[in-house]
């Protein structure tokens, strides 16, 4: 069975990687300025055949992974961002505890998976419905996250935007990208270092609940922060 997203809206199924380091406003802009170039063909793929779309899809996914890998490699090259392996467990435990201390009673899900931390910010706690505009509450919350990230600076943070599967896939894709970007920008504005951030829009590709119910769709509309330790190899 094919992934539903391809069947519904083959053209605008896009995985966009925004390397915020590419922004001209940031000092550490690197070769990823090219990623902006890749946006143009993405938005004009109408009329292409399904195999072509799938191929581009695979390419973009690979590019996404590559973007994360490259950012990680760059961080690993800077000793001030690198953890000793034997300290990683302690580092991530304490970081999780510090985030929990920040988010007592707040609608944010914090969990550990494979030595990484995952923060799930549901749409309801972050954005006004259907837009990529952060609420005041979300700004405050992200300021707290940024402070923790500033203290625990030996990590890579992937900001993932996700949408539900209702409506045009292109719209969902764009919204998820814009939301990821909004969160990343907010973190930057609160002092996060750009070279540690990667923003990714996944559209409806990675649901965490069924899209058949309101409650499930509400859970799918979210931004996730994946905090990965940068460990010396």
């Amino acid at each position: 069975m094919q992934p539903p997203s391809i069947r519904i809206m083959p053209v605008v199924h896009v995985v966009l990687f925004l390397l915020l380091t590419a922004c001209s406003t940031l000092p550490d802009s690197g070769g990823w300025g090219r990623s902006g170039d890749q946006r143009a063909p993405v938005e004009s793929r109408d009329g292409r055949s399904a195999p072509q779309v799938a191929a581009e899809e695979a390419t973009r996914l690979a590019q996404g992974e590559a973007a994360i890998a490259l950012t990680l490699a760059r961080l690993e090259a800077r000793p001030e961002h690198v953890l000793q392996p034997e300290q990683t467990g302690y580092y991530m435990d304490v970081q999780l505890a510090t985030l929990r201390k920040r988010f007592v009673g707040v609608d944010v899900t914090l969990s550990r998976e494979d030595g990484q931390l995952r923060l799930v910010l549901p749409e309801s706690a972050t954005f006004t419905s259907g837009s990529a505009e952060l609420t005041g509450n979300a700004q405050g919350m992200l300021e707290g996250v940024a402070q923790v990230l500033a203290e625990y600076d030996k990590t890579l943070v992937v900001v993932e935007g996700h949408s539900d599967a209702l409506g045009p896939a292109g719209f969902n894709q764009t919204l998820s990208e814009q939301r990821a970007l909004a969160v990343a920008r907010s973190l930057l504005s609160h002092g996060a270092v750009a070279r540690r951030l990667v923003a990714v829009g996944y559209g409806a590709d990675r649901p965490v609940a069924s899209n058949d119910t309101d409650a499930g769709r509400a859970r799918n509309r979210r931004v996730e922060l994946l905090v990965r330790p940068v460990t010396a190899t």
């Binding site: 300290q87 505890a97 007592v104």
Partner: protein
């Protein structure tokens, strides 16, 4: 005779033994229970004290970390470091306090410069951001596994042994579990079982020679204390009590045996003494006159056996008559009384043919013909007619209807009058009595006592008299103590009476004298 005596001895000894066994088992059970309860309470108090202490130390640690996070001093300034130092020194269980930035210990107390504990795996990360590492290899400093807590940017290393430091824990092994995870044990190499493997309270493991106690607290988080001590300790502690109690038990048992034996000896020797007294005719016979209520004239007397022991003690007939019956020598007693009556007042009876003496018979007396033969031969030797001796039977003697009926007939054929003693107190029905050939009914003193000093009297005695009259027998009222009673009974048609109102039981000479004075 000897068989009966042996049986008594065996029964007595068995009861003595049973008493001793019972005493010991009850005492043993009670002491064991008391010991266990006392031990449980002792270990329980200890465990609760330790548990509360550990709990309050952990709560205090959290509050302290919070206070340090909120302290206004610039981080790692001299004020900040001395505050951490003051708090460290204020608590014996705190080994170190540190201020951290992420995984970098920037300043603090306790550990050597640059040293820090960074265990790779937290035991608990609480929702409020508190994080804890239970004592283990990763938290060990200088051979001591430490309990580590971090809240915000401050952490604290606690020596868990100090959470259990409660003075002398001689010979005991104690373990502390918090939230089901082992915190510490004393001594450090103690083989204390996990709390989940023990039931709450005290467990005595005889195979392992251990007493273990588990106590749990759950106010803030679950705290389990497991305390163990060798069984020998338990015995050492309670052995003096058990020995003392054992001695006390022995003393009590000895006392019990002494009581049983002395009672049996007294009883047995009393029986033997009674036998001697009967054989040697040391029984005394007293005579209580029976008078005609209408005329006041004496018509006879009831012969009553009295026994005065060699040491001068009077033994009541209520004691020695049942004793003689039990020992199977009541007939000896009856024959002795008969013999003494004929010997003591034979001449008096010959001089007063209207006087008859009543002799009490026991049911056993009717079983053989010895009494009959003794009566015949005795009276013949004394030259007295059979009418001189009347025989009193209790209603109880008539229960076995066959033999008594035959004997009564034989006695009456010889010419003796037969009286039923204690009429009305027994269980014979009127019609049953009617089936016997009897001459006299004696109304029990208990009924006579109910005759009040006033004219109105109990209906019970009236009824008893009516019953007696319906049998058309002579009636003798026993236990008359007043003129009023005598007059009332006479008015009711009772012909004869006996009692203190007329005379107390008299010795032979006194009876003789009393009789002369009547004439």
């Amino acid at each position: 005779m000897l068989q009966r005596r042996d049986k008594v001895v065996v029964v007595l000894l068995a009861s003595a033994l049973l008493g001793v066994l019972l005493l010991f088992s009850v005492l043993g059970w009670y002491l064991w229970r008391e010991s266990v309860v006392a031990e449980e309470a002792r270990l329980g108090d200890l465990a609760q004290r330790l548990g509360l202490q550990a709990e309050s130390a952990i709560i205090d640690a959290r509050d302290l970390l919070q206070a340090l996070n909120e302290s206004p001093f610039p981080r790692c300034s001299p004020e900040h470091v001395s505050l951490m130092q003051a708090e460290t020194f204020a608590r014996p269980h705190i080994r170190a306090i540190g201020f951290w930035r992420a995984a970098e210990r920037l300043c603090g107390t306790g550990f050597a410069e640059g040293a820090a504990l960074r265990p790779p795996q937290a035991s608990r990360i609480y929702d409020d951001g508190m994080i804890a590492w239970w004592p283990g290899p990763d938290t060990t400093v200088g051979g001591i596994p430490l309990f580590l807590m971090r809240f915000g940017n401050h952490d604290m290393a606690i020596d868990p042994r100090q959470l259990l430091s409660t003075g002398p824990l001689s010979n005991q092994q104690v373990g502390l579990w918090v939230e089901g995870l082992p915190m510490t044990r004393i001594p450090t190499d103690a083989a204390v079982p996990a709390p989940d493997s023990l039931r709450p309270g005290l467990t005595v493991d005889r195979a392992g020679q251990q007493v273990s106690a588990r106590f749990s607290l759950g106010t803030i988080f679950r705290i389990d204390i497991v305390a163990m001590q060798p069984l020998s300790e338990f015995w050492d502690r309670y052995l003096p009590t058990l020995v003392l109690a054992g001695l006390l038990g022995l003393l009590l048992a000895g006392l019990w045996v002494y009581v049983v034996l002395s009672f049996s000896r007294r009883h047995l020797s009393l029986t033997a003494e009674l036998r001697n007294a009967i054989e040697r005719r040391e029984i005394l016979v007293y005579y209580q006159p029976i008078v005609d209520l209408a005329t006041g004239r004496c018509t006879g007397a009831e012969a009553l056996a009295r026994w005065s022991r060699a040491n001068g003690d009077m033994v009541s007939p209520d004691v020695f008559v049942p004793m003689a019956e039990e020992a199977g020598m009541i007939t000896e007693l009856t024959l002795a009384v008969l013999e003494l009556v004929l010997r003591d007042i034979g001449s008096l009876l010959r001089a007063h043919p209207a006087i008859a003496i009543n002799i009490n018979l026991s049911p056993q007396d009717l079983e053989s013909k010895r009494l009959l033969r003794a009566l015949v031969s005795g009276l013949r030797e004394a030259g007295l007619p059979a009418s001189a001796i009347k025989l009193e039977l209790t209603e109880r003697a008539l229960l076995d209807s066959d033999l008594p009926r035959r004997r009564i007939n034989e006695l009456r054929q010889l010419g003796h009058a037969v009286a039923i003693d204690d009429f009305g107190t027994g269980y014979s029905s009127l019609s049953y009595l009617e089936s016997f050939e009897l001459d006299i009914l004696k109304i029990d003193k208990a009924f006579v006592d109910t005759i009040e000093s006033h004219a109105v009297s109990s209906s019970v005695i009236g009824h008893v008299i009516e019953m007696a009259k319906s049998l058309q027998l002579d009636i003798v009222a026993e236990g008359i103590e007043s003129q009023h009673q005598a007059a009332w009974l006479a008015a009711q048609g009772v012909r004869f009476g006996q009692g203190y109102h007329f005379s107390r039981p008299l010795a032979a000479e006194d009876f003789s004298r009393w009789l002369q004075s009547q004439a």
